[in-house]
Point group: C2
Chain length 126, copies 2
Amino acid sequence: MNLDFGKLGGLVTAVIQDYATGRVLMVGFMNEEAFRKTVETGFATFFSRSRNKLWLKGETSGHRLAVKEISTDCDQDALLVRVEALGPGVCHNGYQSCFYRRLSHGEWIESEPRAYDPETVYGSTG
Amino acid sequence: MNLDFGKLGGLVTAVIQDYATGRVLMVGFMNEEAFRKTVETGFATFFSRSRNKLWLKGETSGHRLAVKEISTDCDQDALLVRVEALGPGVCHNGYQSCFYRRLSHGEWIESEPRAYDPETVYGSTG
């Protein structure tokens, strides 16, 4: 299971894709331990660069990502993780996908409605 | 079109997805100039970390990526670029997608045949 963690300071890029619909849901980063936990537990676990620690996706919201298949790329420095997303959305802003804004005539525009209210899931701080 | 280039030393992650099939084809990085060129020309342009310069995907092979739609994520530090891939494959190893190896019982196994012969496209060095 060798991966190249050297190019990004101990991390590989992890693209999360919905197994059923093919929608790209989010992009995160995994260090070696996060990758190992993802494989062992079957739930996507990332390394949070802002909090500098492992982050089981859904640990607060319950919206975990159940792993269906993991692929790596030619350089072995990126992962494609196909998942079943538990819950209405993976984005902490309340959307199904973190990619909810589309470029249109030089502006980012929201291209879909919220899937849930983030205040009720994450509390009043958003 | 503000993006957060600060977290990865001047780069954002760019996930390339086939517009028609939904398949994730590759992951690259864009600096601000590569992003601007991608938007202006309609063909995906990356920043090559190994060669330290802009890289028009397909400049050698002719296998360009015609941009259909660009989205950004909640943190504005990643892009999802949906494309029409011109040519049989985006991977310089000869596969349709760079993600041609799947994790199976702790091993990466090739999960598809080559789509073209890289020697005839890139020359004898592969």
